[in-house]
């Protein structure tokens, strides 16, 4: 039982640590101008190199956001990646080379759509399979199928109606 008082102390320590660390952790992914007086670079938007830059940066995901490419994001991480992309574009490397460079560094995770290799083929094959196999399936199950309803004990509607009418007539009488 002597260890018991340690728990609150530890918790307090952890909380203190968290309060110190959390803002820093968040700051890593935060968007915003740098504190230094250096102004963020303008990325090229025209010419062959500008297009290549756009093409490549549009294919890489922003590591700290959901759903955006590095091109669309100005989180600090994305800025760094864009700088590397720009550097490589200017040194004349091709799109595939640059993408390969990033996949080797970060894994296929950095690409915004999974490359169609290995297990990832599933992600691409599934929609195509639905699109290709769906129409025949609809044709087979909806249009072509003969209904096989068991009609044992089922009376024609006219009989039921007649019976209802007689019952109603009896009630009214």
């Amino acid at each position: 039982m002597t260890k018991r008082p340690m728990a609150p102390m530890l918790a307090l320590f952890l909380m203190l640590l968290m309060t110190v660390l959390t803002p820093r952790l968040f700051a890593l992914g935060e968007a915003g101008p740098s504190d230094s007086n250096e102004i963020k670079k303008a990325w090229p938007t025209e010419g062959a190199k500008g297009e290549l830059f756009h093409d490549v940066a549009g294919q890489l995901r922003c590591p700290t956001c959901t759903g955006l490419s590095v091109l669309e994001s100005d989180a600090r991480f994305s800025q760094q990646i864009k700088e590397i992309v720009l550097e490589q574009v200017e040194s004349g490397r091709s799109k595939d080379d640059i993408l390969k460079y990033f996949t080797q560094r970060y894994g296929a995770w950095i690409l915004r759509s999974p490359p169609a290799q290995g297990f990832n083929i599933v992600a691409w094959a599934l929609p195509i399979a639905i699109l290709v196999l769906g129409p025949p399936a609809v044709w087979f199950f909806v249009w072509r199928r003969r209904r096989t309803v068991s009609t044992i004990g089922v009376r024609p509607t006219s009989d039921i109606l007649r019976e209802m009418d007689t019952r109603l007539a009896e009630l009214r009488r």
Binding site: G32, T66, G67, R112, S113, P114, G118, T157, L161, L168
Partner: protein, 659 residues
């Protein structure tokens, strides 16, 4: 003190809901009318109590009672009034509370405004709704409690997430939740029909109205969310296919599919089981989306177990799916198609089945793309990303199919492979659509697109959309002409058809708006004070950085003078806002919006000392306004269709006795 009261009210709500659900089941089994009435009173009292609890939370928000942890985390003393109110749903606990409150409200409305024809299935409806409510209230008193106390109370709160301090965020969540919760009613009616063993006569009319209402709310909610992203996040787009967006889109697609299968059900009595399944799935996916985004499973499978709410959601969803699947398995055979032998052939109902196929394919692609990273990580251990490029490879093809289905399907006739004057209509529409498409291309400046593929996609898309609009309009004119231009008769009897017409036009306008994404342009420039840059015919001159205090923020505004063809468009003020509470810099975009395109400017960086130099990102986003207009048109169409008094009033396969 008040917070404790709120908590106990929610606890009571949980108890009444569980009681109400049990009582409803027993009343169905025993055919006990008064027991059913008591179950209805249970949900009504839940509404009163949950409403009071919500009132307490709202009151505490305005009182800035920081002894409640939720209020401490999501508001602060300097928060403006509007956002003090919207702080209610600005975080997990509160939004779950709002969702529950709305579900209680719509359940109560649904149970009191039933039609006489549905009287015998109402106990099942009540049981289903209150079973869901029981679980939601249970979460509210366990893992998602908005009334958790904090000790010691603080003098000021941590403040609201700056991104949520936007008018669109004040109305987007309630609208979307309205859609989600309204979807519960058709789902409950479906399960009730299965339990009862047949679709009752008034079933379709009631379900159709609720589905349409849900559809309108979802449409508005989704596009409001897009508008928020566009105005607040500063990446110049409104749709990123991210998991949160996808999980709101999937129920919308199911709801759309449901509305279309209901038409066939109404006209011919077929596709009844499909309607039942779709109504349930639309509701199921509204929860499923919340589950994957809320349990943390979306960022990584391993974060799943971190919060107990994930496993709880999973257990609930799995058991709900299991129970409904069992009910369906046992009861579906008793839902019979009409007696007449059906030959589908070439007909409007076949076109509607094809539409179903396209919609469900889109839903499954969105679903596969959203879930794939989780599945892949669980199976191979490798993390993958599925984002916009993946969805954008498939979505345009589905969209193409849908445009064709909309135009051809709408002019077809039921149970007939002949379209009266069909070829003439399609041909004339094609002729009429060419000048229309040409005008769109000319004014939209489509030919400025650089890549050949993008240009081609736009041209095909615009011609098809115009053609489709002409086909629909031609069909409308034909129908009015058949009534000898008697508009009173037309609007009195065909409001559902007209609503559908308007909604489809809305969809086509939206697609034309989406096509603008193919020709977006961007320029980034670092400018010194007085320098200007030319972009897309605009002359943009940077003046200076101005610092303004505004409510709880400090704005760093980059003033830009916009000229075009000698015309002065005045100052546009893209800015960065600094919130006192967090100190982060957020984007406040500068927008110059015209009918054909938006000039969208963000201030990406600036010299903090002198304010004489800044980097701007300029975007030209074509036809964004089309999308906002489309939202209004679609919702208007949906509302018109709700007002129709006749559609769904009779189901052809039920026996009517007029005596």
């Amino acid at each position: 003190m008040l917070a404790d009261l709120g908590f106990y009210l929610l606890l009571l709500c949980c108890i009444t809901s569980i009681y109400g659900s049990g009582a409803a089941v027993l009343s169905a089994v025993w055919r006990h009318r008064r027991l059913y009435r008591s179950s209805r009173l249970a949900v009504t009292s839940s509404l009163v109590m949950a409403g009071t609890a919500a009132g307490i939370l709202l009151y505490s928000l305005f009182q800035r009672d920081y002894s409640i942890a939720y209020i401490f985390k999501n508001s602060s003393n300097d928060l403006p009034q509007v956002y003090t109110m919207s702080a209610f749903w600005s975080s997990l606990e509160g939004s779950h509370f709002l969702w529950t409150l709305l579900l209680t409200m719509y359940s109560t409305i649904a149970l009191w405004t039933y039609s006489k024809d549905n009287e015998h299935i109402m106990p099942y409806v009540s049981a289903c709704l209150q079973a869901v409510l029981g679980w939601m209230f249970y979460l509210l008193i366990s893992y998602s409690d908005p009334f958790v106390r904090m000790f010691p109370p603080q003098a000021n709160g941590q403040g609201m997430n700056a991104l949520l301090q936007n008018p669109y965020m004040a109305i987007h969540p309630p609208t979307l939740f309205t859609g989600y919760t309204a979807l519960a009613i058709p789902a409950a009616y479906s399960v009730a029909a299965l339990l009862y063993g047949d679709i009752t006569e008034g079933w379709l009319k009631t379900t159709r109205r609720w589905s349409l209402y849900a559809w309108c709310a979802l449409t508005a909610g989704i596009i409001l969310g897009g508008h928020w992203a566009y105005a607040e996040l500063g990446w110049s787009g409104y749709w990123a296919w991210d998991p949160v967006e996808n999980s709101s889109l999937i129920p919308w697609i199911f709801c759309t599919a449901l509305l279309h299968s209901m038409i066939v059900q109404d006209k011919l009595g077929h596709l009844k089981r499909l309607s039942l399944v779709l109504a349930f799935l639309a509701f199921f996916f509204s929860f499923f989306g919340t589950f994957i985004t809320r349990s943390g499973v979306i960022s990584s499978v391993h974060s799943f177990a971190e919060s107990p709410i994930g496993p709880n959601y999973l257990a609930f969803l799995a058991s709900m799916l299991l129970v409904v699947a069992l009910i369906y398995g046992f009861r579906a055979p008793s839902i019979l198609p009409p007696e007449a032998e059906k030959v589908w052939g070439v007909s409007k109902e076949s076109a509607l089945v094809i539409t179903q196929f396209l919609l469900l394919t889109l839903a499954s692609i969105v679903c596969v793309g959203t879930l794939y990273p989780i599945v892949s990580e669980a199976i191979t251990g490798e993390r993958t990303t599925v984002q916009a490029p993946y969805f954008n490879t498939f979505a345009p093809w589905i969209g193409l199919g849908l445009i064709v289905a909309i135009s051809v399907g709408n002019i077809m006739r039921y149970q007939s492979n002949k379209i009266p004057g069909g070829f003439r209509l399609m041909l004339w529409s094609l002729l009429a659509s060419l000048p229309m498409a040409a005008a769109l291309v000319y004014y939209g400046d489509v030919l400025a697109t650089k890549k050949a593929y993008n240009l081609g996609a736009q041209l095909v898309g615009l011609v098809l959309c115009s053609w489709s609009i002409c086909c629909l309009s031609g069909d409308l004119l034909g129908r009015v002409k058949d009534l000898r231009w008697n508009l009173r008769l037309f609007f009195g009897r065909n409001l559902a058809y007209f609503g559908g017409f308007v909604a489809h036009i809305g969809v086509l306008i939206a697609i034309m708006g989406f096509l603008g994404n193919y020709r977006g342009m961007q320029k980034i420039a670092t400018l010194s004070s007085g320098e200007s840059v030319d972009f897309y015919g605009y002359n943009l001159k940077f003046d200076k950085i101005e610092v303004n205090e505004h409510d709880n923020t400090t704005l760093y505004e980059g003033l830009i003078n916009v000229h075009r063809d000698g015309q002065d468009f005045g100052l546009v003020r893209p800015a960065r806002s600094k919130y006192v509470t967090t100190g982060n810099l957020n984007h406040e975009i500068g927008l110059l919006s015209t009918f054909w395109h938006d000039l969208y400017i963000t201030l990406s960086d600036f010299d903090r000392e002198g304010g004489k130099k800044a980097t701007f990102e300029f975007h030209v986003n074509p036809t964004v306004r089309f999308v906002w207009i489309a939202a209004f048109v679609m919702v208007f169409g949906g509302l018109l269709a709700i007002l129709d008094r006749f559609r769904g009033a009779k189901s052809r396969d039920t026996v009517r006795i007029d005596a």
